[in-house]
């Protein structure tokens, strides 16, 4: 290598570093409602992890003497027909909601990403086969598909996760296929090919990182939808079955006493609403904060 030449661009000539992370935080946290959503999610996480220590009773501990008790110091949110403490059940239900939500969204994100990237990158017949199959899956409304699968596989947490994953994969596949198709057209991908990078390296090191932002947004937004879907399935009686506790089945159990003891349905219903709402708000916030068009303006 020859001697160093005249340096044209010195450190000082280039604009000061734009700290992407700082800018992101500023935009993201500027909205007050985000703080509320973050608080709800933090609370959800906390109760899910420390549930057994927080709950005053076991989730299936019956006490027929206290059946249908109104809220009191002994039972913060009252009890149901079998005298089970509603507040304790809510706390255990948080764990179910979070496990199902996180497990489903991550497995469907992983499967969808792999399928979508392969379909987008290979193109041609592979793309046609994968995407038409996904279109067929998408033809069913998510809840109907999950209902069908849960009906076939049976109830239980694992089966619900599988059913909801199958129902969620098409969305991720479509997103990733579209992102891969658009990122692949960039000159820097052609530049990588001209250097001699393998297809795997191009996919993993250059295409994947450039598709990450919409992925993160979708992951957060879909978490709310999945928790809602799990609640719906449990409400319909083919989701989580006892001894596991789910908010959806709590709503269904309390539904019969809506006029006499509405708190039995309302308490879990409000929990579902708050969590789903919070995930959606965070998803929206992430989408806006990560939007490259807002770079430098906000």
């Amino acid at each position: 290598m020859p001697e160093a030449k005249v340096i044209v661009a010195k450190e000082a000539d280039v604009e000061p570093r734009i700290n992407e992370w700082k800018r992101f935080c500023r935009v993201f946290l500027a909205r007050k409602i985000i703080w509320l959503a973050l608080f709800v999610i933090a609370l959800l996480l906390f109760t899910a992890v420390f549930g057994p220590w927080l709950a005053p009773y076991k989730p299936n501990e019956q006490n027929l003497a206290d059946s249908m008790a109104p809220p009191s110091r002994k039972h913060l949110l009252g009890t149901d027909r079998l005298g089970i403490d509603t507040f304790s059940r809510l706390i255990y239900g948080a764990r179910t909601a979070l496990i199902v939500g996180v497990a489903t969204s991550f497995t469907s994100a992983i499967v969808g990403t792999l399928l979508g990237m392969v379909a987008g990158f290979m193109g041609g017949v592979v793309n046609t086969v994968i995407m038409r199959f996904m279109d067929a899956l998408m033809g069913f409304p998510m809840i109907v598909l999950a209902l069908l699968l849960a009906g076939v596989l049976g109830s239980g947490m694992l089966n619900i996760i599988i059913a909801l994953t199958v129902a969620n994969v098409p969305g991720y596949t479509r997103l990733m296929c579209g992102m891969t198709l658009s990122v692949k057209e960039n000159d820097y991908i052609m530049a990588q090919r001209s250097i001699g990078s393998s297809s795997f390296r191009i996919l993993a090191k250059h295409i994947f990182p450039n598709t990450l932002q919409p992925m993160v947004v979708m992951l957060t937004t879909s978490l709310g939808g999945i928790i809602l879907a799990e609640a719906s399935l449990s409400f319909l009686g083919i989701g989580i079955v006892p001894p596991d506790v789910a908010w959806g089945s709590m709503v269904a159990d309390g539904y019969k006493y809506l006029q006499t003891n509405p708190i039995l349905s309302f308490a879990p219903g409000i929990c579902i609403m708050l969590v789903v709402f919070s995930f959606n708000i965070i998803g929206d916030g992430l989408r806006d904060a990560l939007d490259p068009r807002l770079r430098g303006t906000l």
Partner: protein, 329 residues
């Protein structure tokens, strides 16, 4: 400019047809003849300028030679080996020796990679450096070579200006110590003042490297090409119509298309500019989907004769290596 007589690249009757497909079964309904029988030779250390208007196939020629495209036909003999039909798995060693500089410095750098790792990528892909320290040192040298402060290695592309980004692209293309660099309109996206800097950088690099660099310089700006090239090939509709030295091309253009092209270059003197005679070709460039028979220019050529419609004119020597493809010139 220093150049040996060793021929590094010989392109023979290169053809690149892109299929036009339709329907679910991807039935081929037509072909776009982007490059249709291009031949040229390149000596080691030489710079060949490739000019022509948009869509004439100059970029396609570059991408075929670098084997980003699999040509439909013809030979590409690079360092004595025909690489035109080489399968993908054998291309890696060619990729190390032939590199590309892209037109758009904004889309040719991965926005999620730091400048240093963009430049160092070929070193990793081809396992050129022994260890971390060696890698770091080489990237540093490459930065200095193209006039960038190595302290900027950890910056991301969006923090650089267009010219600086193009320097990063050039550093990347030099990393694997290539013998042939295809510059695909490397300056057309830049400001005029920056253009000169980049052109001079490319010229300096040619002298500076340990291996003698050969360039194929693709451009649509004739004045840029004149400055950098040893020989210039003028392309029209997928074929080379004239190939000679830039001096000869400017003083004695033989092909009617070249004459028209040169007459379109503005002169920075209003008086001469006003009196200057301009040759205006009638009509539009025909579609490469359905190129005209015979000489591709015959419908627009001011000196065409009936036989121009039938005969495809061969590229023939008119003395001193001045090649022209026209039966009338």
């Amino acid at each position: 400019m220093s150049q040996s007589n060793e021929i590094i690249l010989k392109v023979n009757d290169l053809k690149m047809y892109f299929p036009v497909t339709r329907g679910l079964l991807r039935k081929k309904v037509a072909e776009i003849k982007a490059v249709d029988g291009v031949s040229f030779e390149l000596k080691k250390g030489e710079t060949l300028g490739l000019v022509g208007e948009s869509g004439c196939g100059k970029t396609t020629v570059g991408r075929c030679v670098s084997r980003l495209y699999q040509p439909t036909g013809g030979e590409i003999i690079f360092e004595g080996e025909d690489i035109a039909a080489l399968p993908e798995k054998d291309l890696k060693r060619i990729r190390r020796k032939v590199s590309l500089i892209f037109q758009d410095p904004y889309s040719s750098l991965d926005p999620r990679q730091s400048a240093g790792s963009i430049v160092g990528e070929p070193l990793i892909v081809h396992k050129i450096t022994k260890d971390k320290i060696d890698y770091h040192r080489r990237v540093e040298t490459l930065f200095q070579l193209v006039g960038l402060d190595p302290a900027l290695m950890n910056r991301y592309p969006h923090e650089f200006s267009g010219g600086q980004r193009q320097r990063i692209g050039i550093a990347r293309s030099l990393a694997s110590n290539p013998s042939l660099i295809i510059c695909d309109e490397p300056v057309s996206a830049l400001d005029v003042s920056i253009q000169a800097q980049i052109i001079n950088l490319l010229l300096d690099l040619k002298e500076a490297g340990e291996t003698e660099l050969t360039y194929i310089f693709i451009a649509h700006d004739l004045s840029v090409v004149k400055h950098i090239s040893d020989r210039v090939a003028v392309m029209y509709l997928g074929r080379i119509v004239e190939l000679t030295t830039p001096q000869e091309l400017y003083e004695n253009p033989l092909h009617p298309y070249t004459q028209a092209l040169l007459s379109a270059v503005p002169v920075p003197d209003p008086e001469i500019e006003e009196k200057r005679e301009r040759i205006i070709l009638e009509g539009e460039v025909p579609s490469p989907l359905n190129p005209p028979s015979g000489c591709a220019l015959h419908q627009r050529c001011p000196i065409a004769k009936p036989e121009c419609r039938e005969v495809i004119p061969p590229l023939s020597d008119r003395g001193g290596g001045h090649l022209v493809a026209c039966i009338r010139a």
